[in-house]
Symmetry: C2
Subunit: 336 residues, 2 copies
């Protein structure tokens, strides 16, 4: 079997030479363990922070360690009562063709219900990314009929689901913000958004005024910083803001963060701002999967995937994320 290890700790952005492909034997399992075959592996911007040990959500890495990563796998052999051969699970697989998993909370192992749909959805629409869009829109923002909704980072793996979810919940209008003409075209033509704003063009805030002459009811934010401040300036009474990510702040120190002018409007407008993390809502994941799967079957969600083939593609898939993606959920298919 093949696996990718960290060859060098990255300085700045990741490069191909930070990774090394190794061959090793398929491991034996002990009592309590499960051997799984990797089907799909996701890539996410946070992986750079795994490599630099800058996140509390993964175990520290050293040179020579197998890369952290999550994806979809099939149980091949089980010595654990909780899983049986043939089960399709999402778990922390690392970048390898086979993995040994234990029944330990660390792995956040999740057994999929809707395996009649494409198993690739376990890296996107029916993964923690998809669940995040439903948690944020329905359970944090309580999107309802008539709401006017804004999403930032709208072409990303969560954002590309968030527009569909807002519409499925009956919102009046959902507008997405993304970088570049191509992504904005995708938002409108492929991802269910009623309108798109290209933040690389001039006049981002004027466009907010044009799209929301009556103010913003719901903001699903993946960006933070100045954009969040400008949205606060435009919120309606009892608006809801879900803080899903803060990509504008990930690569600068806190001293350089934008200091908002409009935070007082949370109090003035009796609005809500809430950060959230899908791992804190584990009891609900199965219901999230079933609701999203139902909307996929009904045609209300049409997941956009960007799939490379072969474990050899892992570093390129990750590196390309930081250059801007083609939109949708980027993943690598190893088997199916």
């Amino acid at each position: 079997m093949k696996q990718w290890v960290m060859a060098k700790r990255p300085i700045g952005l990741v490069k191909p030479t930070d990774f090394r492909l190794e061959e090793t034997s398929i491991p034996e399992i002990e009592e309590g363990q499960v051997l799984v075959k990797t089907l799909y592996l996701g890539v996410a911007p946070v992986m750079l922070r795994y490599m630099t040990n800058e996140t509390e959500f993964e175990r520290p890495m050293n040179n020579g360690d197998v890369m952290h990563g999550r994806g979809v796998a099939r149980v091949v052999k089980s010595k654990c009562g909780k899983f049986k051969e043939g089960d399709i699970i999402q778990t922390k697989l690392r970048w390898r063709e086979y993995a040994v998993i234990e029944d330990d909370p660390y792995y956040m192992t999740y057994k999929m219900n809707n395996t009649d749909l494409s198993l690739s959805y376990g890296c996107g629409a029916l993964s923690m990314n998809g669940f995040t869009s439903l948690l944020g829109m329905r359970d944090i923002c309580h999107v309802k009929k008539g709401d006017q909704v804004l999403v930032s980072g709208a072409a990303g793996s969560v954002g590309s689901m968030a527009g569909f979810v807002a519409k499925a919940l009956g919102c009046k209008k959902v507008i997405g913000i993304a970088g570049g003409k191509q992504k904005c075209h995708l938002l409108k033509e492929r991802l269910g958004y009623d309108g798109a704003i290209d933040y690389k063009e001039e006049g981002l805030y004027e466009k907010l005024d044009q799209y929301f002459p009556d103010g913003i009811d719901v903001f699903f934010d993946n960006v933070g910083g100045e954009l969040l401040d400008e949205v606060l300036a435009r919120i309606n009474r009892r608006a809801r803001i879900a803080i899903c990510g803060r990509i504008s702040e990930y690569l600068i120190p806190p001293e350089q963060y934008h200091r908002p002018r409009n935070l007082y409007r949370i109090g003035l407008k009796d609005a809500k701002m809430e950060g959230f993390f899908i791992y804190d809502y584990q009891g609900r994941h199965s219901e999230y999967e079933n609701q999203l799967a139902q909307w996929i079957r009904e045609g209300k969600i049409n997941p956009l995937e960007d799939i490379a083939v072969g474990i050899e593609e892992m570093p390129n898939a990750l590196i390309s994320l930081y250059k801007g993606t083609n939109g949708g959920t980027r993943m690598v298919k190893l088997d199916s």
Copy 2:
């Protein structure tokens, strides 16, 4: 009957000469109306903004208009099916000994259930102020066993209830912030707080560190501005911040508001910040009254009141609010 009218629109803070006491006849009522006798009238800082027409929550005032105000009254005569003689209600009475009320949402009329307790509670513990403390602590902040709770403006009409409510909900510790030694003494000795911080003394933020070495889980805020920012710097994962008031910002223009450094911690800590207004939760008021009344009977809440006697005292009661109160709910008793 006597009533107070606005003699002059205040410039800066209110003065005795901004008011005039008039005598007039007790009005007759028409079909659909109710005549009530005022028992207690509350005073609140917002009343200055009624007089300067700076709030959207009251009808505009001109010189000669009867002062806006809310309190407790007994129904004396009723031509409205919804109320009968002898009912005890809280409503928008204005500053007068008798008032005519209609069944109109403007009045936010609320009929009291627990009239075996002191009727003065209808201006404090069992009024919108008391309801606000329960709404904020229980329904916005979800205070639970083990939570470490901070309240600003802790000696005010809402804050003087908030400590009791947090303890009744089982929090581990509740600390109050207020101005002056006397108020801080009250917080600890009379209002159920486990500790008090005098913001007029030096070292407010060092004292936060001393009281909360393990961080803050819940902040019930009546102040806003820099204090809110410093609390954000100290919040725990999944902390909850209820924005009840922003007194630090009421007398300065938005350009001068403090620009926070630590808003990003809402996202980092998956925390929540929510503004709220008791009038948006009308369906719950009766349940709030009953829960608070139960805690009063059980001795878990011991309301602190600051009662002047006679309608003549109204301007002084209001003016003294801006000088700092003796603590608790300031009101004027007209009858009982």
